[in-house]
Amino acid sequence: MRFFLLALVVGGAVVGDLLKTLAIRQHAAVEDFRPGALGRRLGLAFRTRRLWLSLAAYALSFFAFLGLLSVAEVSFAVPATAASYAIETALAKWILGETVSRQRWAGAGVVAAGVALISV
């Protein structure tokens, strides 16, 4: 049960981040930080289905995390979710077309190890 919930926690967060990134990148990068322009730019993203699907994925991840905490120790739950760093880095390369250098891979791996260490 706890591995199923863990898969939902990590999967929801990964899918949420990917869909949110795809939604905001349907238009050019945010350059104008005046409130009106910023509001209009973010409004464009909120008119995409991807953004609302990303919110649903985050909600699934959040409630699965609450469920996970009810069946597993925090010392299992938090370090295990550090796996999302590796998964998201790989998907950012394959789906979003980002260039992930060896240095970035190493950095993401080191951060994941630190997150796991901080919460055991």
Partner: protein, 132 residues
């Protein structure tokens, strides 16, 4: 520079929002039932608490700042670089709440800083047409 400010806002609002939410929820008490009606009643009751309401407001700002950051920088850059929140929570717990930080946690903080530094030294955006 603008991307760096966005990332700082992401870390600050996420950390402060979660801390306020946690503090407020401890005052509100645990959720008694998971039925949809009970959950809705609990949510309304929780939102009446100023700490919970403040936490939710900060997390909305976090969500928007995270979107802006992702429009300007790679997801594979934003994710590790914004893990500074873990450090901030540990330091605030130690400095403000007087919590004991175990040696493994200090080592974890040092490891996260090392990883963040490695990623921060790569270009923020590698996707054509995105701001650097």
């Amino acid at each position: 520079m603008k991307t760096t400010i966005c990332l700082l806002v992401v870390v600050a609002t996420n950390t402060a929002g979660n801390l306020l939410l946690g503090y407020g929820m401890r005052q509100v008490g645990s959720i008694a039932s998971w039925s949809p009606l009970e959950l809705a009643v609990s949510a309304v009751r929780a939102m009446a608490n100023p700490y919970v309401a403040g936490g939710v407001a900060l997390l909305i700002v976090f969500f928007l700042a995270h979107m802006i950051a992702l429009s300007r920088a790679d997801l594979s850059y934003v994710l590790p670089v914004t893990s500074g929140g873990y450090i901030l929570v540990a330091l605030l717990g130690w400095g403000l709440l007087g919590e004991t930080v175990r040696p493994a946690r200090w080592i974890g903080i040092a490891v996260i800083v090392a990883g963040m530094t490695l990623v921060a030294r790569t270009p923020a955006s590698t996707v054509a047409g995105r701001a650097r």
